[in-house]
């Protein structure tokens, strides 16, 4: 259990959604720096949402609810693609207010492995939805 929700196994065929602020988009693509671990200890990892309990729009709205000025988009990554990256693991880490919350753990900086992980993550993301003006534009597959 983590908070109110049980920790579950995430199938390789599911997706992870992640917000990308417009400051971190260049030429219509996220920059490699968006693949970054946050938090400390057990909670350290790259924060994403599991598609089983979230949609790209919900991932974005959760942010807009607390930060109305936020602008950007949501990317998606296939869980199996992420797991194939050396030393990266996908762990469900539900929060009391977000059952979908999932951490991608493993080095993302300070080593060749970290640079490799971010390079390979740059190859597996796709846009799920972009925030243009005040409208959400879904591009989910």
């Amino acid at each position: 259990m983590s908070g109110h929700w049980p920790i579950e196994q995430i199938p390789d065929a599911d997706f992870l959604f992640m917000r990308v602020h417009r400051n971190n988009i260049q030429n219509g693509q996220p920059i490699p720096g968006v693949f970054k671990n946050r938090g400390e200890g057990e909670q350290e990892g790259m924060s994403t949402d599991w598609s089983n309990y979230s949609t790209p729009e919900e991932t974005m709205r959760r942010k807009l609810a607390v930060t109305p000025a936020w602008r950007g988009g949501v990317i998606q990554m296939l869980v199996g693609d992420v797991r194939r990256i050396p030393r990266q693991t996908v762990e469900h880490a539900p929060l009391p207010d977000n059952r979908a919350h999932t951490n991608v753990k493993g080095p993302k900086s300070g080593s060749v492995e970290g640079t490799q992980a971010r390079y390979l993550l740059m190859k597996v993301w796709r846009w799920a939805s972009k925030h243009e003006g005040d409208a959400l534009v879904s591009t989910a597959a």
Binding site: I31, R38, W70, S109, Y119
Partner: protein
């Protein structure tokens, strides 16, 4: 004995006897005192009161002229120092930009203009102001950015000089923990080079060939002792515009 063969001419010049009788052919000339006659002006000046009046008048005129020269000289000095201050201020105003781009940037040939443009555009990542809506807040220091630019230009110039290829301009962006990323994608080849914020830590890189990622890839650390890395060079040559 030899001396007997020598005769003296009237001017005192020795005749060595080679041309015996030479002095006899020359007209006799009495030696004249050297120099010119000096006409001492002072002797012609009227002595007494008139002379004292002239000296006094000259001294007054000299003092007047001296005051005028000092005044003009002072004005010139003021003008020059004002100009110097202006130049210094203008220089200081431009200096950050020179430090940011040209200071770190060696001369790049015109063919590498896309690289220069990418470098100039990337200046915005240096000490970027905090945006409260951006939870990542990616930015970097001037020193880290300059280190990344030095690595980029060294490799671009090396490929250009050795193979006459122009490498593609990378995406230059702020990475995790104050680092700088240089990211190239030119299907099927790609490369990510990360320059950490700590100048003592080596830059790291990873790249692969999407058509054959398991067998054809490159990775490693950039040694600080060598300006260019052979692995990076080879990969950038692949990504160059053919």
């Amino acid at each position: 004995m030899r001396r007997n063969l020598v005769s003296l001419n009237p001017s005192g010049v020795e005749d060595l006897g080679m041309k015996a009788g030479w002095s006899d052919c020359m007209p006799y000339r009495e030696m004249q005192p050297a120099g010119f006659a000096v006409h001492h002006l002072e002797e012609d000046w009227p002595r007494g009161v008139a002379k004292a009046q002239d000296v006094g008048q000259l001294a007054a005129e000299f003092a007047e002229l001296r005051a005028l020269v000092v005044e003009k000289f002072s004005e010139i000095q003021k003008t020059l120092s004002r100009g110097k201050q202006l130049r210094l201020r203008q220089h200081k105003a431009k200096r950050p930009r020179q430090d940011a781009s040209q200071g770190a940037l060696p001369f790049l040939p015109a063919e590498l203009a896309p690289i220069s443009d990418a470098i100039q555009r990337s200046e915005t990542i240096v000490n970027r102001a905090h945006d409260p809506s951006d939870e990542l807040g990616l930015t970097c220091s001037q020193e880290t950015w300059q280190r990344a630019i030095r690595i980029l230009t060294a490799h671009a110039l090396s490929v250009w000089r050795n193979a006459r290829f122009v490498i593609r301009p990378p995406v230059i962006s702020a990475g995790p923990n104050g680092s700088v990323d240089l990211y190239w994608t030119a299907a099927p080849y790609g490369l990510l080079l990360n320059v950490p914020a700590d100048p003592k830590q080596p830059a790291t890189y990873y790249g692969d060939d999407a058509a054959n990622p398991d067998c054809n890839r490159t990775s490693g650390k950039l040694e600080s002792t060598s300006p260019v890395d052979p692995g990076v060079l080879m990969w950038l040559a692949y990504t160059a515009e053919q």
